[in-house]
């Protein structure tokens, strides 16, 4: 079965491990992800604060191309892209003016029949069933499922239930034997786009997330958004600066864990791309000193 795939800039840039793991997971579930041809930026985060029509037209062009390619559904793994695409589709459906004015801008016919899936929608719909009997003892770890802001909000657009305290990732991880903690920062802001301009703010916001997860006994943070993951992982230096102690709790993509459960190797899942190391092999989960050192050196590299 073929499903459309909109990688967005992150999955081709800062989060190659997310793309690699998602593709392999899809393959294991017999799904072929077809990348939208000649896709463009979703508009996040500048377009919608500058120009409403632009913020609709950018994502709509991608959706129109996907429709043209005969795709009925498109999976959008980046939460920010997901939010923009969903917003554009919704505006297109609700606002007649948008419908009238859009076509000359994007120079493509758009019907608005396409369905947009975020990575959780995708896993629930196409992968959950294939995860039967994939419970693995090596996964006996506590996860803190971190959703961030755009996967669930705004609730009217995403139709999320329990948008303040979602439980969807928890249910998926349960399938492979990972238990999740109950914590308070599932949908807090990680600092998002301030990552470059105000790393100190990211350190503070993400720091609080890391701190609460750790205090409640989580062994790892599981995310479904490349922005969240990069802030929690790559900005660990700034985070540790803010927290004034070294925290080595890893932040990993949900697809990387699912991939392991399907039998792919940690190398396939590109665990080596993570700044804060994690490994499930040889019952050697916790980060040993060497790893910690490695992490520190990596953090230094980033700072430079």
């Amino acid at each position: 079965m073929k499903i459309g795939y909109f990688p967005g800039c992150s999955l081709h840039g800062t989060a190659p491990e997310y793309e690699a793991s998602l593709k392999l997971v899809a393959k294991a579930a017999d799904i072929e992800l077809v990348e939208i041809e000649d896709w463009n930026c979703c508009g996040a985060t500048a377009a919608h604060s500058m120009n409403r029509m632009l913020s609709i037209a950018l994502p709509a062009r991608n959706l129109a191309i996907a429709e043209k390619m005969g795709l009925e559904e498109v999976v959008v793994p980046c939460a920010a892209c997901y939010s923009r695409l969903l917003f554009a589709l919704n505006e297109f459906k609700l606002d007649e003016k948008v419908r009238m004015n859009l076509q000359p801008i994007i120079e493509t016919e758009f019907k608005g029949n396409i369905k947009i899936l975020n990575v959780l929608d995708f896993l629930e719909k196409y992968v959950m069933d294939a995860l039967k009997n994939k419970v693995d003892d090596k996964f006996k770890k506590k996860a803190a499922c971190y959703y961030g802001c755009l996967l669930v909000r705004p609730p009217k657009l995403t139709n999320s239930e329990r948008w303040d305290d979602p439980l969807r990732m928890e249910a998926i991880l349960k399938k492979i034997g990972i238990d999740s903690i109950d914590w308070s920062f599932k949908t807090e802001c990680c600092g998002a786009g301030l990552s470059i301009a105000r790393t100190d703010i990211v350190g503070k916001l993400s720091g609080k997330i890391i701190e609460d997860a750790k205090d409640r006994g989580a062994d790892m943070i599981v995310t479904a958004c490349p922005m969240c993951q990069s802030n929690l992982d790559m900005r660990r230096g700034a985070i540790n600066n803010y927290l004034k102690k070294d925290n080595n709790i890893p932040a990993i993509f949900i697809t990387q864990l699912i991939g392991l459960a399907f039998g792919y190797s940690e190398k396939d899942m590109q665990f080596d791309k993570l700044f804060v190391p994690i490994s499930f092999s040889n019952n050697n989960f916790s980060n040993n000193n060497d790893n910690l050192k490695m992490q520190k050196s990596k953090v230094k590299e980033v700072k430079v």
């Binding site: 329990r162 948008w163 303040d164 305290d165 308070s184 920062f185 609460d212």
Partner: protein
């Protein structure tokens, strides 16, 4: 031959500024049957009324059409005028040329023509009017009061003290309502139970009051003065006659861990229980869902330990029908639980409680005997954060109204907490402080100035747990919207007051209207705030909208006075706008019966002189019929007509719709 007079009112300038009233009078004078027509500046004034009376005498009028304001305004006035001259008042009709014409159209011929048309339509109606006479119906001088909170108690006592019988029904095992759960009351800090329980006892002992606790309305039929209510007296599995209220059974019950409703689930109770020590009636009730005997028949501890032999496991619900003349609805309100608030933890943090729960923690009869101890570990909280408007005034939560009581009780909570824990700190997040009421503002000032309560103007976005503390994250809008984070030991939510979940179904049983929040609607928001749209049914207390105690009591007394006024008459007079059936043409299909909302259509057997049934026809109970006329439109053989809106009248009105007089063609 009809002799009709037409009287056109200028209503000062209200009509005359856009309608040429003289012209309308002139056109009207040419309608066949109209023998007199005139216009005048204020027809409802004394000289205007005299003008009509004189014309009736002088021209021997048999009918009158007044072209003026809406009949909803002055129809009774002009009918009285006509009646004073010896004409049946139903020969007077009003043509609405103000609200429906002069006020909504510009000055001009078209508007004048519309006024003239309206007059002509009503002239045709009057021509076909028939004399009608008011209907007299008897009054049952017994009131049904639904709900035994403070409003229901007050209404019952007032009605009973005026010498009328009262049946007070309460769905819980004891009367007392929410007021019995309160610790102290604002703004005087009287002990709530101390002022309430004497009233409860008075109800129980009053010779005119029949108290039916653990009972609910099953159905209601009838009309003002003549209601027939069916009440479901739920089985409490106790023979109330034999029970002496010793309470041994409640001590012996092995089940002890059921969340206690009276303590807002802050405490535990057994499966056989009296809700609280001062309960009226002071008789226990068995909670069937949690009782071991009802689950598997294995326990009879209460029965074997009852010296009075009052436990009756075989008791059944009873349906009791009572005749009453008036009904006071005083079913009160309920509050939203903490699980309504995802941002405050969906009810998963034990130390986030509702205002009512905090009230029980403050109460000397509560689970902690009046010591403020937090539910999670029983420690005395040193920092309590109160969040006002939890749900209220929040369109996102679907509750747009103000719950009215929270500002005051939150100030009271903070004050009482500081009295009990002097070294504790109390912070209140609020949107606005609404302290309108006698001595209310002063009370809030006292909380701030004497008891050092810290008010923070802003809303709380999130409450979460960290290291055993509840972190309350909000904003202080008076300090340039500074984010605020407070580490609290306990959080109290002043959750919204809402209608009971069964309010809608009760309203439907009683045929009273309710608003989009399921609060019951008054007949008029300003001038009839106590009555409902159904005659004979009045409202008292928070079932209408959130109210505090003084307001509930005042409204209860108002409802009682309406009821007493009704009972002061032996016969009620009703408008004769009711349906009548023609028994000679009725074929007895009874389609009418199936559409009548009031069950007013009965089967009547027509017999010959030997007593043999010739046919069965529809007969209309004039007491039950409210005059909607649905049966008339449904009757296939045109055998039912509606007095005041007969087929003759309405068809001739329609026939007169577009007959334009010569001059305007």
């Amino acid at each position: 031959m009809a002799r009709i007079g037409v009287f056109i009112c200028h209503c000062g300038e209200n009509i005359a500024s856009t309608v040429d009233c003289g012209k309308v009078a002139e056109i009207s004078s040419k309608i066949p049957g109209v023998v007199f027509s005139t216009d005048y500046k204020y027809m409802c004034s004394d000289p205007g009324q005299t003008l009509i009376k004189d014309a009736i005498k002088k021209y021997k009028l048999t009918g009158v059409v007044v072209g003026a304001c809406s009949p909803r305004m002055h129809e009774p006035t002009f009918r009285k005028v006509v009646a004073s001259e010896g004409i049946n008042p139903f020969f007077c009709e009003m043509a609405n040329i103000r609200e429906h014409c002069s006020w909504v159209h510009p000055k001009g011929e078209e508007t004048t023509q519309k006024a003239a048309d309206t007059i002509r339509i009503l002239v045709e109606k009057v021509r076909n009017n028939e004399p009608l006479y008011p209907i007299k119906v008897p009054v049952t001088k017994r009131a049904l009061v639904i709900g035994g909170g403070i409003a229901g108690i007050q209404a019952s006592l007032d009605i009973a003290n005026a010498g009328n019988e009262v049946i007070l029904i309460e769905k819980e095992p004891s009367i007392g309502g929410h007021m019995a759960q309160l610790s102290e009351t604002f703004p005087t800090l009287d002990c709530s139970q101390c002022i309430l329980t004497p009233r409860m006892v008075e109800v129980a002992q009053h010779p005119n009051i029949t108290l039916m606790s653990y009972s609910e309305v099953e159905s209601l039929e009838g009309f003002i003065g003549n209601f027939k209510a069916t009440i479901r007296k739920k089985a409490r599995f106790i023979n109330e006659e034999l029970c002496n209220g010793c309470g041994d059974c409640t001590l012996k019950c092995p089940i002890k861990k059921i969340p206690d409703e009276f303590n807002a689930e802050m405490g535990k109770r057994p499966a056989i229980y009296v809700p609280f020590p001062q309960a009226v009636p002071n008789k226990p009730v068995i909670d069937k869902d949690n009782c071991t005997h009802f689950k598997n028949g294995k326990c009879q501890f209460c029965k074997t330990n009852c010296s009075a032999g009052a436990i009756d496991f075989d008791q059944q619900d009873q349906l009791i029908t009572v005749d009453v003349g008036a009904i006071v609805v005083a079913t009160g309100f309920t509050i939203k639980g903490t699980d309504f608030f995802p941002e405050y933890g969906y009810g998963k943090y034990k130390d986030v409680v509702t205002g009512l729960q905090f009230e029980r923690l403050l109460s000397s009869s509560g689970p902690t005997l009046g010591e403020v101890r937090r539910p999670s570990d029983g420690k005395v909280p040193k920092k309590v954060v109160f969040i006002a408007c939890a749900g209220s005034r929040d369109p996102a939560k679907g509750i747009e109204y103000c719950s009215k009581i929270c500002c005051m009780y939150t100030a009271k909570h903070a004050m009482l907490y500081k009295h009990k824990v002097p070294d504790g700190e109390a912070d209140i997040f609020y949107m606005d402080i609404r302290a309108g009421g006698k001595n209310y503002e002063e009370f809030v000032r006292r909380a701030v100035e004497e008891d050092d309560v810290n008010y923070i103007r802003g809303r709380v976005s999130k409450v979460y747990e960290k290291n055993g503390k509840l972190i309350v994250r909000g904003v202080d809008t008076l300090l340039n919207s500074t984010p605020v984070e407070i580490e609290a030991d306990m959080v109290v939510l002043a959750t919204a007051s809402v209608a009971h979940s069964d309010a809608e179904s009760l309203a439907q049983k009683l045929h009273i209207s309710y608003d989009s929040y399921n609060f019951f609607s008054e007949a008029h928001p300003k001038l009839r705030p106590v009555e409902t749209n159904t005659a004979g049914i009045t409202l008292a207390g928070a079932c209408q909208a959130p109210k505090d105690i003084p307001e509930s009591v005042a409204q209860a007394s108002a409802a009682a006075s309406k009821t007493i006024a009704l009972f002061s008459q032996d016969l009620l007079t009703r408008e004769p706008i009711i349906a009548v059936s023609n028994k000679s043409t009725c074929v007895g299909c009874f389609l009418c019966q199936s559409v009548c909302p009031y069950l007013a259509i009965e089967r009547e057997e027509i017999k010959d002189r030997n007593g043999n049934i010739i046919k069965t026809v529809a007969s209309i109970n004039s007491g039950l019929c409210q005059g909607c006329g649905t049966c008339v439109a449904f009757c296939r053989s045109k055998s039912i007509d509606l007095q005041g809106y007969t087929n003759n009248q309405v068809f001739s009105e329609v026939s007169a719709l577009f007959e334009r007089s010569e001059e305007y063609v």
